[in-house]
């Protein structure tokens, strides 16, 4: 069974060395939240993840969730672990102190999210959905609703969900039919069915707060007529909690995340309240969705990291064959497979991905902090532009590559990886949902190309292009960085060309943009990784040989991983560039009947 060690050193590196999260202490409300405090907290949470939550991962997968008489039972140990987190205050890391939260900056939640998801994705979902619901309510609900719900969500006493999907409304939320009828007292009665609702019903908390997309009477068709409502499982009546007409009809049997209940939820005249304005539900839900998309990008990173650790452990222990250049460990019966070039290729691919993804996640997260907390409106705008641009990339690129990485890690373990007892195949199965939920990766690519790329006449895009161009200009003469800067420059130039081409072609035919979207997103992802890897290499070279022995090893490995990334992985961007420029004709002219 793979074990898990939280990558605290690398988290500290990306947030406090590569980026300057320490500077957040200058923002109002975060004065006390220095790196010392945040990392001490992460160390303690890491222990809980490693010792309590990760050991529930394989048994939870084996046992799954049970559905009986409308009730969902989570696997053994989940409730206790959930209570431990809630009682320790870990469910309210970034919640506002006014509502009983700890008031830490967003990146604390993101680091925590990686550790929790890597330890046990199914388990982590019960909690991350709650914090997503918290955010949507905090940003958009009336003060009265905030006062009522937020303290319960922050303390973890109540859990949250997001109810978007219906049988006929998946990617296309404009087709949502759930009805919300006003009762005349400011509340609404909801009737309809939602499906695929994660954590829709469970035994972790006494109450579950659903954020539901629905239509008010006379609402315009499509996404312009959708409202967001808050509907609890139990509503208060005469000071007592009573059932509110929200029931779970069944749970799905799935390929992965088996310990996360995916529920059909029936609303039978359930009482709810409007969050935000009528028909403006999509806007409010986007807060939730953006936070959730970033979180799903972290699912990809987290499972890849957990799988990578399992693969490394296996590759050190498994003795097969001899190194091609002669035995490396002659005293052993055979060399550990770690010596073989092909195994090293796989392990380094895993590493270059996880460390790159951690950096991209950090960059996006800190942009969100700027957007929400920076006193300077220009910085706020810049943070918002960059975060909304990068969010679909983080979601799709990190889950596509994250899934690929779990698969590579399994391959390292040979036949053992394929067996159930070994624990590696669970990472692959669990990770398979990540390119699907929270908006499929195809939808993310359309979001990037159709919405984010042209947003604000290209201003959002420039928030990414400008720092890359500046970095390239500043480092052009840096001999030591040449091996990183040159391939970055080449890939970046192609991204710019692809962007121009796409902008031009989209004017001619929207199919061009649609057909190119996924390749464009991947090209974008590779360039974003390359930019961050070049910056990480620069920093690691500056710190080369400095600090204690562990640090020396850390920075040395960083530079070497960067080298592997640029030489052996970044070339993949070329394929996306070429495929995209080929245009949509071969895709679109194929007759529908011939499929």
């Amino acid at each position: 069974m793979p074990t898990y060690k939280a990558p605290l050193r690398d988290l500290r590196f990306v947030y406090y060395e590569l980026f300057d999260a320490e500077s957040l202490t200058a923002l109002p409300g975060f004065e006390d939240a220095g790196g010392d405090l945040v990392m001490t907290a992460m160390e303690e949470l890491a222990k809980i993840c490693e010792e309590v939550i990760q050991p529930l991962n394989a048994p939870g997968d084996e046992e799954g969730c049970k559905f009986e008489n409308g009730k969902v039972t989570s696997p053994k140990g989940f409730k206790e672990a959930y209570d431990l987190l809630a009682q320790g205050g870990w469910t309210s890391l970034i919640c506002h102190p006014d509502y009983g939260g700890q008031g830490l900056p967003h990146h604390a939640d993101i680091m925590a999210g990686e550790m929790l998801c890597a330890s046990n994705l199914s388990f982590a979902m019960y909690q991350t959905l709650t914090s997503g619901a918290y955010l949507a309510i905090e940003h958009h609900a009336s003060q009265e609703l905030k006062n009522y719900y937020l303290p319960k969500l922050a303390s973890g006493e109540w859990a949250g969900t997001m109810c978007l999907t219906e049988p006929q409304a998946g990617s296309d939320l404009g087709l949502v039919r759930m009805k919300a009828e006003p009762r005349g007292d400011g509340s609404f009665l909801l009737t309809g069915t939602k499906i695929f609702i994660s954590a829709g019903e469970h035994d972790m908390t006494e109450n579950i707060v659903h954020l539901v997309l629905a239509r008010l009477p006379g609402a315009p068709a499509g996404t312009r007529g959708i409202s967001l409502l808050i509907v609890p499982k139990m509503r208060e009546e005469g000071g007592k909690l009573v059932l509110n007409g929200v029931t779970c009809g069944s749970i799905e049997h799935k390929m992965g995340i088996k310990a996360s209940a995916t529920c059909v939820m029936n609303f039978d005249g359930a009482v709810g309240h409007l969050v935000g304005e009528p028909h403006k539900g999509m806007k409010a839900m986007f807060t939730f969705m953006n936070a959730a998309r970033l979180h799903v990008g972290i699912h990809g990173l987290a499972l890849a990291e957990a799988a990578r650790q399992g693969a490394v452990q296996f590759a050190r222990e498994r003795l097969q064959g001899r190194a091609l250049t002669g035995a490396k460990y002659p005293e052993l019966e055979a060399d550990p497979i770690l010596v073989h070039p092909d195994v090293r290729r796989m392990l380094l691919a895993c590493r270059a991905f996880t460390e790159g993804a951690r950096a991209l996640t950090a960059w996006t997260t800190l942009a969100i902090v700027d957007a929400e907390h920076h006193p300077d409106p220009d910085r706020q705008q810049a943070g918002d532009d960059l975060a909304s641009l990068l969010t679909p990339v983080v979601k799709a690129f990190q889950t596509d590559l994250g899934f690929e990485t779990t698969n590579i890690a399994l391959q390292v373990c040979g036949g053992y990886g394929f067996t159930r007892d070994y624990g590696m195949e669970q990472f692959v199965r669990d990770c398979r949902i990540t390119p699907i939920y929270e908006g499929t990766n195809g939808i993310q690519a359309l979001d990037l190309v159709g919405r984010k790329m042209p947003a604000n006449f290209g201003r959002s895009l420039r928030r990414f292009f400008h720092p890359v161009a500046e970095f390239l200009a500043a480092e052009a003469g840096n001999e030591r960085l040449k091996e990183f800067v040159e391939p970055l420059a080449k890939a970046f130039e192609r991204l710019q060309r692809a962007t121009g081409w796409l902008a031009e072609q989209s004017l001619k035919s929207r199919d061009e943009a649609g057909a190119a979207a996924t390749d464009y997103l991947h090209l974008f992802g590779w360039v974003a990784f390359a930019f961050l890897w070049a910056r990480m290499a620069k920093l690691a070279l500056e710190k080369e040989g400095k600090g204690g022995k562990e640090d020396v090893l850390f920075y040395d490995a960083k530079v070497r991983t960067a080298r592997f990334f640029f030489q052996r992985m970044l070339p993949r961007h070329s394929a996306h560039f070429a495929a995209l420029l080929a245009g949509c004709a071969s895709t679109m002219e194929f007759p529908d009947e011939a499929f």
Binding site: A41, Q87, G88, G89, L93, Q102, E331, G548, D551
Partner: protein, 265 residues
């Protein structure tokens, strides 16, 4: 009820150790230091007693400046204050000199009960607790698997683990020094609130001169034991497989243990 708990910071058990340049200790560079595991049980026991009695826990740590981290950790777990003995004149001593300094600091602070772990995972003398008791002139118990405060709070009933699965139950009059056994409880995790609160709690530094103990009895100067050298155990790679059925393997093994290893006669 005022409970003193003594904690030490030790190299992370998972750290890769190297012998230092002087050959008498490890090379501490790049080694992570953590709260000594068996002290975690003492801290937990102290917190539980304090919670039951409405008392307070005060943590004492002797060691270099980095010991502050271990104390901060205990504060995060719920201790109300801490005392740090990091004066160079107090460092590098054996259990005798270390126990004397801790006892002096505890005497100044005043305590009804002192709890310590069973042993440190680096040096493993398991003697500091007894020295503290000796210095204070208080009763002392070791290998304690259960601590229960008497109704009148004048004594504790303790359970000690004896050989052969037997327990020894006794009453110890307070104030006393109790050295608890690892496994006596399940140490808690620090809560986020605790960690945040710990930042603001007091860690009082006490200098050697403030202890009222003759300088010659403290630190290296006051030690009777000198570590001459340390070495990593030689890892042998020679493994001999004894093949055959169980009876034959057992017989061959006995012969080898008698004749080659000479551990059986």
């Amino acid at each position: 009820m005022k409970i003193a708990v003594c904690v030490k910071q030790v190299p992370d058990p998972e750290a890769r150790l190297r012998v230092g340049a002087d050959g008498a200790w490890i090379d501490e560079e790049g080694v992570a230091f953590v709260l000594n595991e068996s002290d975690e049980y003492a801290v937990e026991e102290a917190l539980r007693i304090a919670e039951r009695t409405g008392g307070e826990v005060i943590a004492f740590g002797l060691g270099p400046e980095r010991t502050r981290e271990a104390l901060r950790k205990v504060l995060a777990l719920g201790a109300s204050r801490a005392v740090l003995l990091s004066d160079p004149a107090l460092l590098g001593g054996d259990a005798l000199a270390t126990g004397r300094a801790l006892a002096a600091a505890i005497r100044q602070e005043g305590a009804d009960l002192v709890l310590t772990g069973s042993a440190s995972s680096d040096l493993g003398y398991a003697a500091t607790g007894s020295v503290i008791a000796g210095e204070l002139g208080w009763p002392h118990a070791w290998l304690v698997m259960g601590v229960e405060l008497a109704e009148d709070r004048r004594s504790v009933r303790i359970t000690r683990e004896m050989e052969g699965g037997m327990n020894e139950l006794s009453a110890v009059v307070l104030p006393a020094v109790i050295q608890v056994q690892a496994g006596i409880n399940h140490p808690r995790y620090a809560s986020l609130k605790g960690i945040m609160a710990a930042k603001k709690k007091e860690i009082r530094e006490v200098a050697a001169a403030e202890l009222g103990v003759d300088a010659g009895r403290l630190g290296r100067a006051g030690s009777r034991l000198e570590t001459v050298s340390v070495a990593l155990p030689v890892s042998g790679r020679e493994v001999e497989w004894i093949a055959g059925d169980a009876a034959a393997v057992a017989a061959a093994l006995v012969t080898k243990l008698e004749q080659e290893a000479k551990v059986l006669r």
